[in-house]
């Protein structure tokens, strides 16, 4: 480790004596029209912990799946220890690549030991159950001393932190570990377990194992990895030596805002920031305090609030509580104040959006049936008229009677958005609805949203694409299930959103 750290040309594979454990050469991957990876070059050396950081959609997870052989690149190739040949799941398993998934991949109904046995590559022996129990128990004891997990309990019964430990331990149940890929391994681990994990990683790499560590906890990555690769828009934009790297440099490389120093200055900035943010929110309140139509509290952070005529964005890394806010606003319940009429545009149109057997008009007007019916009977002419109005307003490429499945994805999405706005809902909830929608369609929908907000509707918009947040009047940035900051006007920039998404690391002293 120390030798690579002192070498200036650490990225130069030729300068090392041993071949790199795994190398990605110009790897490109497309999903439909989106480019997930765009010519990635990355090498993980033997006995090295390589950190991998980046914001939403930077391509970390896709790259990770490529390196683990679970997906094949469209262009470019992956080579293992300088060799050639096809790199697929079988080859990766034979080479000793193990992966710890972020979305915990344990079978809830199986016991801890059975889960470990399921993914253990070693051939079974008679008495496999006892063997599996002993193996996983030994790994748990080695990595997390004093863990207190009973290996005969069902995985689904364990608390989140213990499931995470099991997930990590079961990846280590193998005889020859070559490369360990960890995707957000400390997300739900406690402080002690996190320390134990990193201590164990250190001992692993001293034995020649390579580790790829994906995390959004900047300080952990800085502290524990040898080099850090920064990804942005499907490419590795920078590989830095973690010895000389700073958090703000990493954030800048990711496209975030430079915020001087993380320590004292951050706290100072927070005080002044709180004042200015207070002024901003006070301004927003004074504008529309009379018409605040929905609010709710998330965790111990600031409350979520929206006034009529506003477009409010929910930003931050994916899965930090934004969907939960949408769900609570949609369902109502304790601690939530929301208008009676609201509508919801789901992001996953295939599973929870369109009614595939229905026509465009039927799909479009289902939320507005009250407006087009008389005495409980739907007025067919009024329905078609309403549909036609929206179809021409949004320039949907299709007739009212066209089956919805005959439309392209972008046009289906237009119909779904139109459905929400065709109703008389005062509050419209958008759950990342523009994923995989082309730019022209997006611009039309942005314009529609602004027009509808100006007409007095309130729009709550969750998006994983930070650039979209520029269309919002105010943006709440989420982190660990709570709102960490509220951005408006001048402060509502992509850079600030990225910086605040990782706020947990900078505010660690809080």
């Amino acid at each position: 480790m120390s030798s690579t750290a002192t070498e200036p040309a650490v990225t130069d594979a030729a300068s090392r004596r041993e071949p790199d454990t795994v190398v990605a050469h110009g790897v490109t991957k497309r999903y439909g029209s989106t480019r997930a990876l765009n010519g990635v070059d990355l090498a993980v050396g033997p006995g090295e912990i390589l950190g991998l950081v980046g914001h939403n959609g930077a391509g970390k997870s896709t790259l990770m799946r490529m390196l683990a052989g679970r997906e094949q690149p469209d262009e470019g190739r992956i080579s293992w220890r300088g060799g050639g040949g096809r790199w697929d799941a079988r080859a990766a398993a034979a080479a000793g690549v193990r992966m710890v998934y972020q979305e915990l991949a344990l079978c809830a109904d199986l016991t801890v030991a059975e889960n470990a046995a399921l993914s253990d590559p070693r051939p079974p022996r008679p008495g496999w159950r006892g063997t599996a129990e002993r193996r996983i128990a030994e790994v748990l004891d080695t990595v997390f001393p004093g863990h207190g997990i009973s290996v005969i309990r069902r995985a689904g019964e364990l608390p989140m932190a213990e499931r995470q430990m099991v997930e990590i331990a079961r990846a280590l149940c193998t005889d020859h570990l070559g490369l360990l890929i960890l995707d957000e391994p400390t997300e739900s681990l406690g402080v002690d377990a996190t320390r134990q994990l990193y201590a164990h990683l250190k001992s692993l790499v001293s034995g020649g194992v390579s580790v790829l560590l994906i995390s959004h906890r900047m300080q952990e990555v800085l502290e524990h990895s040898d080099r850090i690769a920064v990804m942005k828009d499907g490419a590795v934009v920078e590989i830095v030596d973690s010895a000389g790297a700073t958090e703000s440099a990493l954030l800048t490389a990711m496209g975030g805002e430079v915020r001087a120093d993380s320590g004292a200055l951050a706290r100072a900035a927070e005080v002044t920031g709180a004042v200015s943010a207070g002024a901003v929110s006070a301004g927003a309140v004074s504008q529309g305090s009379a018409e605040t139509i929905a609010e709710l509290r998330t965790g111990d952070g600031p409350a979520f609030r929206i006034a009529a005529g506003e477009i409010v964005g929910l930003a931050g890394l994916a899965g930090q509580g934004q969907e939960d806010v949408l769900a609570r606003l949609w369902r109502g319940g304790r601690g939530v104040r929301a208008p009676k009429h609201r509508s919801y545009v789901p992001g996953d149109r295939q599973t929870s959006g369109i009614l595939p057997l229905w026509s465009v008009a039927e799909n479009l007007t289902i939320s507005a049936l009250a407006a087009v019916s008389r005495f409980g009977v739907v007025d067919g002419r009024a329905k078609r008229e309403l549909a036609r109005r929206w179809i021409s307003a949004l320039r949907v490429r299709g007739e009212a009677g066209t089956p919805i499945t005959a439309l392209s994805g972008g046009n289906q999405q237009k119909v779904l958005v139109a459905r929400a706005f065709a109703s008389d809902a005062r509050l419209v909830l958008l759950d990342d609805p523009f994923r995989g929608v082309d730019v022209a369609t997006k611009n039309e929908l942005y314009a529609l949203m602004k027009a509808e907000a100006a007409a007095g509707r309130a729009v709550v918009w969750y998006s994983t694409e930070n650039g979209e947040m520029a269309h919002c009047e105010r943006v709440y940035v989420f982190r660990s299930g709570r709102i960490v900051s509220e951005l408006a006007g001048e402060t509502n920039t992509e850079e600030r959103i990225i910086a605040d998404s990782f706020d947990d690391a900078t505010g660690g002293a809080r």
Binding site: C107, D109, L110, L118, E138, I152
Partner: protein, 329 residues
């Protein structure tokens, strides 16, 4: 790093026997209410007819439950992968028909037919996995095929089971009720297949989270095919035991097994979504349902109310389970 310990070091987190017992009891707790229902029914029966508490009495009372217990174990295997078998009733009936018409006269053909049933089930598993056809559709369709084949072979109930099968059915040891031996055997087989063997673990993993099983590099198709073939094997045994008791074949003799086996698995703590397999629970559920018939005749209630009573007991136990689960949580 994990197998370097040459000496069998006693790991601190290897569970001790007491832990195993309490964890096992906790995992099996959904079957508890079924056990309570069984005890209640049995007590009422004994109060009405104390003669039950003897080897011949118990034999008589439990006899009808034996094929049902085997069929319930088969249904449990199918349900552990997240599927449901709606054809098992007529399948068991077909096996009795084959036993009564072919096994005695033409053993080779008869055994070939039984093996063929297992092979067809393996194909059904393949179809469900590869083509994504819901198991309910496939097995419901097959149930009509079984019915048709059975009627073709033996249009009216009759025939004669081979001598060896009849002898098995009339085996009456003095010291223990014979049905108890068969019930214990069925439970043991189900327990080994579903809980103890590696293939059983994979079957439960498939029902619990197919994506995880796939990521572990195991074949989803192979697992589902194995589950169906093993279940078919158990259903064949159930049919043979039924033929051993009735000494004849009747395609309709087990038509109520389809829903009763599903009810037995659910009573015993199984789930429709898959992932769970509780062999002891499935047995308890099957015996409970089987005893209701006996109880109703003992208390002089019309046997036509059987199904209604069975349904009410299933509902009562399930409602009780929902309440206790809320209570313990």
């Amino acid at each position: 790093m994990t197998t370097t310990a040459a000496a069998p070091r006693r790991s601190a987190s290897r569970p001790r026997l007491a832990d195993r017992l309490t964890t096992g009891a906790a995992h099996g707790s959904p079957a508890l209410l079924s056990l309570v229902a069984l005890i209640v029914i049995f007590s009422i029966a004994v109060a009405n007819q104390p003669g039950i508490l003897s080897v011949p009495g118990l034999t008589l009372m439990l006899m009808s439950a034996v094929p049902l217990v085997f069929a319930a174990q088969a249904q449990m295997l199918i349900m552990s992968v997240g599927d449901i078998d709606l054809g098992i009733g007529f399948l068991v009936g077909l096996v009795t028909v084959i036993a009564a018409t072919q096994l005695g006269a033409n053993p080779v053909l008869g055994i070939g037919m039984l093996v063929g049933i297992v092979a067809v089930y393996a194909l059904l598993g393949l179809l469900v996995q590869r083509r994504g056809v819901p198991s309910i559709i496939v097995t419901l369709g097959m149930s009509f095929v079984w019915l048709g084949l059975g009627l073709q072979l033996l249009p009216t109930p009759g025939g004669a089971a081979p001598e060896w099968l009849a002898q098995l059915g009339s085996w009456r040891p003095n010291w223990i009720p014979a049905p108890l031996v068969f019930i214990a055997l069925a439970t043991l087989v189900g327990w080994y297949l579903a809980r103890r063997s590696r293939i059983g673990m994979r079957m439960r993993a498939l029902g619990s989270s197919a994506a995880t099983l796939d990521k572990s590099g195991r074949s989803l198709t192979g697992t589902r095919v194995a589950a169906y073939a093993l279940a078919a094997g158990l259903a064949v045994i159930a049919g043979l035991l039924l033929a051993a008791q009735t000494r004849s074949g009747d395609i309709n003799s087990a038509s109520n097994f389809t829903l009763m086996t599903i009810a037995a698995v659910i009573l015993g703590g199984g789930t429709f979504s898959g992932g769970r397999a509780l062999p002891v629970g499935a047995t308890l559920g099957a015996v409970t349902l089987g005893l209701i018939t006996v109880l109703l005749s003992l208390v002089n209630l019309s046997s036509s109310l059987q199904s209604a009573a069975q349904g009410l007991i299933v509902l009562a136990v399930l409602a009780g389970r929902v309440i206790t689960e809320r209570f313990t949580r």
